[in-house]
Structures are given as structure tokens and as C-alpha cells.
Symmetry: C2
Subunit: 539 residues, 2 copies
Amino acid sequence: MNKSALQIARAAYQPKLPKVLKGAVKALDGDATQSVADQEEIKKLFPNTYGMPVVTFAEAGDVDLPAMNVGVILSGGQAPGGHNVISGLFDGIKAINKDSKLYGFLGGPSGLVDHKYVELTADIIDEYRNTGGFDIIGSGRTKLEKTEQFDSGIEICKELDIKALVIIGGDDSNTNACVLAEYYLQKQCGIQVIGCPKTIDGDLKNDMIETSFGFDTACKVYSEMIGNIMRDANSAKKYWHFIKLMGRSASHIALECALQTHPNVCIISEEVEAKKMTLAQIVNSIADVVAGRAAEGKNFGVVLIPEGLIEFIPEMKVLIAELNDLLSVTSDVKEALKGLSAASAAVYNSLPSSIAKQLTLDRDPHGNVQVSQIETEKLLIAMVKTRLAAMKAEGKYVGKFSGLGHFFGYEGRCAAPSNFDADYCYSLGVNAAWLIANGKTGYMSLIRNTIAPADQWIAGGVPVTMMMNMEKRSGEMKPVIRKALVDLNGAPFKALSDNRSEWAKETCYVYPGPIQYFGPSEVCDLPTKTLVLEQRNKK
Amino acid sequence: MNKSALQIARAAYQPKLPKVLKGAVKALDGDATQSVADQEEIKKLFPNTYGMPVVTFAEAGDVDLPAMNVGVILSGGQAPGGHNVISGLFDGIKAINKDSKLYGFLGGPSGLVDHKYVELTADIIDEYRNTGGFDIIGSGRTKLEKTEQFDSGIEICKELDIKALVIIGGDDSNTNACVLAEYYLQKQCGIQVIGCPKTIDGDLKNDMIETSFGFDTACKVYSEMIGNIMRDANSAKKYWHFIKLMGRSASHIALECALQTHPNVCIISEEVEAKKMTLAQIVNSIADVVAGRAAEGKNFGVVLIPEGLIEFIPEMKVLIAELNDLLSVTSDVKEALKGLSAASAAVYNSLPSSIAKQLTLDRDPHGNVQVSQIETEKLLIAMVKTRLAAMKAEGKYVGKFSGLGHFFGYEGRCAAPSNFDADYCYSLGVNAAWLIANGKTGYMSLIRNTIAPADQWIAGGVPVTMMMNMEKRSGEMKPVIRKALVDLNGAPFKALSDNRSEWAKETCYVYPGPIQYFGPSEVCDLPTKTLVLEQRNKK
């Protein structure tokens, strides 16, 4: 591997650990737990893993534990810090007993099913400490849902004498990890399953999980770029930058980046849905901000847009559903368009032609509109431009509007982890090793009190069933971990809504700059604004 | 101003200076100089500023100099470090005499003409030390070319008792600075003019100027993003990322980013032009790399594309010229297309329809094709996809191709300067103050030996006329600073061409990570690969 100067220097970083995880720990069990909703159904589906207590770790003094082999799996999209979960897990099982072995299943969950794996030795692990990416063993999106898959997993675990699997993934992957844990308990095959909360989207969090790993780093990378673009906007004073940010189902990334950088406009999908806003209302609200600034001679600005916006606009959701239905029976677009309801036809006709084309022509193999392919930033630029022309004709706008679109997503998923993510992930990994050593299964690795310095973090585990409820998926009710959307009554959203009229009018940009690894702690160890606001509020 | 934690910590950074600039200096004059070409014409146009010697500064011991007021102008596109040139200039004139004053002309050269200015006091300067952007006084693209503009400048300089102007800009702005210096000498009005070499594009360099400021930081920001995307590509293993990089007239940025990150393909416009490559040849060469990797199971990769590529492809240049001519007499696209030569019609018909549309419909107010609006990254993705389909039909390609386009430009122009740019720019500013104190005009601020530690840098000045030749601009021969294109016989290009077949086939990605300000010197103080290769080679 060719290494950059920074990578070489950063390899030596020793991630900070909670004090308790610096030695052996024992599990202190709390009270029995319940799922967040649908208790009866969840209990029936998870007879062996339901109701288990939240676990907190305490120092155990000297212990003598047998060697244990562990398998690790990366599941789903990349998030900064995955390699540190694995190096923490490696160091954890080696500290427990130096003869323990770590196996990495290759290319995601399919590696377990297809018996593709590699032993992760110290030499390999040392190449990946504090680095971004999931390339150490690769990731994949195969879902572990079927008993044949589970049984195939048992085979390879028996062959390699694997005592436990650690699955690093998002809400779905952790749900599946729990299904697997339940199945292995029923089968009494002695294989434990532990999950780790991963996703840059930040939507895997709740009363127990304070944040998912990767969110911190990804938001900092995006905020670096947004800040740079803001400084450019404020220097050139002639462009409006519309920046779309990754994150389809929740707007945590857009919100966090807004709190870090103070854009003129930041759209939050959850608010759009709650207020049943139309596309025209969104466009008009942006155009009003543009016109307001233009009136003061400021023909520049920055707008943040969450990637999933389109799907949160009620009328767009209806239009897309109608198009999917119509285009499933005919591939003749003109014919299909005739079938639209009057309301949807009106929405469709309000769209710029390039976007209308994306809605009808770019369909996936099932005939569905590919929502993720829609260039929402360009859609809004085009519609704001049209709106401003109308306002100009009415004498309500004086100025020049020149829009530039950006999309930030892939830039942040594999960035090298910030100190926060490096420490948090490494702790999650060491902690997972101790959950295994303490015989736990169906748990998620849990590190709390994360806005305090790392040595004060609290280590333990939370039963996955505690976070579940029943939701409809492809027409069927399924047990799933409840996704955390942006809470419109929460402190982070309030920090936006309290300030956004000032941010719209004035130029309050903040330039966070690049993630720093070697400087003063107040620069290098900052958690996200979202985490601080949420956790401070809890206290 | 709301400041980020990093901005607050970074404000305290004291940029490194060449040893000689830590005290008073005197100018040592070298031999008389000549322009790089067209000596007779240049001499005639610049009778007062032609032939002046290169100046090197030496320690002067204690000197007692009068106060001097200076005006500063930012010209053209933003580049990281502009604020440090200004803070260096401020500290320089204050060190010379504490009663000196610095005036900033607002919004670029037009501020001088329209008498819009602000006095830059210590309070203001301290807010901008080591920050990105040009927002301290703003920039602009007004060209200083007419005597009325020059005379208007004299008025305000007399009013403010300004002894000298410092113009921070690219090749054109520095040419104009010299025209101004010449005019002010002819008029004997006693106003000196000094230039500073700015441009992220890296094309303002020559035997004297080792690098323009901003290139270092911008390339590092782009390389951070490219590295992150590479790690994502190598983790997800399913996308080909086509990344377009800012820089229209030269490919230095793409080349430097390639040397920092080792992409699978990097196109260099100067090579395309020299080899008279067709669009089809470029597409085929990329498709061959994709097919080669696919044969080994690697359906992912990264391609770097210089923004100006289209204009360097001979057949595209002809097509665009023909379209400009045809569309200047008719706005009927169909009619205009009939007028294309057979060769151009063939090229036009080979283009994806969305790009063909950009060529004919998106025209500027003069009817010209807007080359900068052409989404070259998407053009290449579409054409490579088509080519691969043909290769698949012939059995020459097995694999899946999924292309994603990116454009990095605005993200880098206003980033906070790297240590190199912070030091280099601050030195250029202090140095400019001493050129003024030594009575120089028509000079560019010159800092050399820049791959050595900063205290060994050599300070002085170079006459702008020395860098000039005559070139045709809008049909007229004009004196201009010769632009530095990528030298196909130079060490940086050789470092690419020697390695690119390996980089194409293997996965040799390097992940530079974010710019660091506080870490070990081997991480924080690295100059660009281009600079090191060029300067080492010179020695």
C-alpha cells in the first residue's frame, strides 16, 4: 500500500478508551427491558432475546479467560471508523487471551454464507488502524434473513471454532443480527451475535444509542467543503450554491452541517413532511430569501438540501407513486402521463423538462422511478430561477441569480475517522469483545456519555429487541429497529429554527476547515453539534 | 464574524519567513534582463520598465525609513493565501515605519478606478490572518487597460498619499500591473506598482516564479476529496468515479492531484493536444483501462479529467468554432447543423444527445458555445458506456460499468491556506513592502528556493517585462506574461507517464487526507509534488 505522509503519522494514534475498558470488565445487569412499541409481537418473535437487561461494565480486576475466536462482518454502506471497530475488537480479544483469533468475513454478510473469510492478524490490522474505508474485508448488502443462510453460518463457525459474530451495520443489519442471535439461541449452537451501530446518516440512535459511528466524520468533511464554498460565495459575491447532501431517509446530515456552517437556507425533509409543504412552497421560500438578500445587494448565498427531499414532499410522493403504477403497465410515457390525476398532472407540468424526463425515463429494472437519481439541486435552481423571473416582472425582485449545484456524498463515507469516530469506534470494538467474553448475545455494543472526555465514557450493551417496533415492509409487518428522524421538537432542530431567519438575511457563515488530528483538544476532539445539543438537553 | 474552533486556533499561527526578511533589507541588483521572446516589441512598449535587473535582497542592518502608504488590490478568481499576502504586506510596511498605512481597494481593480477603499487597520487584519477567501476587500475582474482608469488611480493615490500599489493576480493582472507601472513612470507621478503571483491553476510560473500561490492548498483540498472517493471506490468496488478538476487552460491541477493520489486514469489536456488525440481515442483508452480491470474482477476505478479538456481536442475545437460561426447567423439549430463540415458533423453525431444539446442551446450572450458549462465528466461516462457495450458484444469486455461524475472547483479556491501557502503568501507580502521601500516598480514579488525550509527561501523581485512575449488576443498582438502549460518533457509529467500503466491496472491509490496545521512538519509543511519534481530537477 502506498501511504501518504498523514496516513503514516496517523497510524501511530492510540485511540482513547473509556477508563473501564482499559482492563478486564464484568457485566452488571440492569432491569429487564421492553421494546419501544408492539411489545407482544416482538416478544413472540424473539422469545430468547426479548426482555434482556441493559448491561453496564464495571472493572473486574484480574481475570483468567479462555481464548475465543470471533468473526466480524461489515454490512451496508461505508462509514468512517469501521476499521477502528475491527482493530478495537482485535485488541480486545487479544487482551482477553492472546490466543484468541479474529476472522473477517469478506464482502459483507455473503462472506459468512459463502464461507469466504480471512484471518485478521496483527500485521493486517496494523495497516488499517485509524484509516477510512471498509476495504480491509469489504462490505456488502446481502441480507441475512433466511434459515439456510443462518445454517451455513453455523457450519463455518464450527469449522473455525468461532464463538461469536460481530456485525457492523445500520438499523436493518442490526435487526438481522438480532434475528440471527435468536435463531442461534433456539438452535443452542453456542454462537453469540453482537451488533455495532454504523451509519453516516445518523438515524440509528435512541435513548440508549447516542450516535451511530461515521456521522461525526462525514458531517465534518461535508462542513469543510460547505465552509469553503461559503467563503468562495462571500468572496465572489455572485453565485448561489445549492448543495445536496447524502442521507435519504433522514435529514440529520443537512441539519448538522447547517449548525456547523450557518447557511442562508437549510431544508429539513421532516419539516416539509410535517407541514405538508408543496414543491412550490419550498421554491417560493427559497426565492424569498434570494430576493431579500438581493434587496440588500447580496446576490449570493448557500442552500443545503437533504438528498431524500423529493420523497418527503407529499404531492411528489403521490406523483411518483402514480407514475410507478402507470409506467408498470405501459412504457409509452405520453400515454402514461394521460393517466395522472389532475393534481399530479399539475405538479408534473410545473417541473423543469430535464427533471420531468428523469421522472419518466430513468427507471430501475422494476419500472420504478429512481428517486436517488433525481438532481434535486438542479430542480430547485431551475424552479427558483423561474420564480424569481416572475417576481422581477412584478417588481418584487431586483438582482441577478446565478445558481451552481453540488452533491456531497461519496467524499465523506470513507474519510479517515476524526478523533471522535476513531475513539468511539475503537471503544465499540473493545467493548464488543467484552460483551462476548461476558456471554452476551442479541446485544448492541453500547458506549454512552459521549460528550464527556473519552475516559468518562460508559461502556456496556443494549438488547437489540429493546429498540424494535413493528413496521410495514413490502406489505408485511416486520420487527425493525425504529429509525430516528429529525425531531422537530428537539434541540438541534430548534437551534436551526431559532436562527434561520438571521442566517437567511445576514451572512453568518462559519468556516469549520479540515478535520485536525494533531492540534489542541478543543479543535481535534469536538463532537457534533447534534450530539452535544441532544445530550446536554437530556441531562 | 462567527468563528470555528479551528479558525480561532489557526489565527495565532505565525507564518514562517525567509531569514533575510526578518529584518531590514537592501536590494542587490543583478544583470539587466530581457523578455522571454519578442524583445524588440516588448522593449518598445515598455521603455521605462524593460531590461531592469532581477533583484535579490540582503540584510541591511538598522535603517531609518519614512512612513509609506500602500494600496492593495485583489484581482480575479480566489486563491488560498490572499489574506496572508495582505497581512504580510501590512506587517512589512509597519515594520518599515509604524506610521505607514495600508489601504484596500474594494471589489478588485474597479475599486481603484471608482475610489472605493477601506483603510486596513490592525483590528481588521487580525481577523483575516491565515484564513481563506478574498472577502477582506473582495476581488473583481475589471481590467486595468485604459488611461482614464490609470488617471483615476492617480487621483485617489494622491488623495491618500499612496506611494505604491500592490496588485495580487494572475498572468493578465500582472501584465496590466506592469502596463500601469510603465504609465506611472512615464507620467512621473511617483506611484510604484508591484505584482504578486496568484492562481490556483498553477500556470503562472517560469524560470523565476517557482509557483503561484493557492495551487498548493487547492490541490491538497481536491486530493483529499479524490483520496476519500478512491477509498470509497476500493471499498464498495462497484463504481467508476469520473472527477473533473478546475483549471481550464492548463492541466497542472489534474497532474498534481494524480501525483498525490495515483488514479487509474488521468487525462492531461496538453498531451491530448500534442498527440492530436480525437475524442474517440480518449474514450477508447479509458474503456480499455475499464475492460482491463474488469478482466481481473475490478469493476471500479477513478478517472481525473481537467476542466478544459474539450478545448484541447483538435476536432472538438474545430466543431465548436464552426458552431459558433453558424449560430451567429441563425438561431435555428437544425439549419445551423446542416452547415457543419463532414468531419465536424461526424464528431457532433458521436456525442450523447444531452451534450450535443449543451453545445447548441446553451450559448453565451455573444452566441458562443459555453465550453465551461459542458459536463465533460458526464460526456465521457456516457461515451465510455457506449464503447464498453460494443466491446462486450465483441467479447472484449466482461464486467459491469456504473459511472458517477464529480466536479471539484469551488471547494478549493477559498480553503484556508496550507502552511506552505500561508508562509509563501505572507513572505510575498512582506517582500512586496521591501520592494516598495527599495523604490522598485514594474516588479513582481519573488520568493525562491521554495522546496527548502522557509528560513532558507530567497527573497527579491523580478521585472514583469522579463516574463513577457507577444501573443494574439482578440485578433491583436499584445504583450502578455507567457502562460506555463504542462511540459510534456518535464519531471512531473514524466512521473505520471512512467507510472500510469501500473496505476491503471493495479489499485495504487494514496489517501492524502485533510490538510493538517498542527502536526509533524513532514505532514504539515509538504510542498506539492509538482514543485519538488520541478525544482529538484533544476538543481
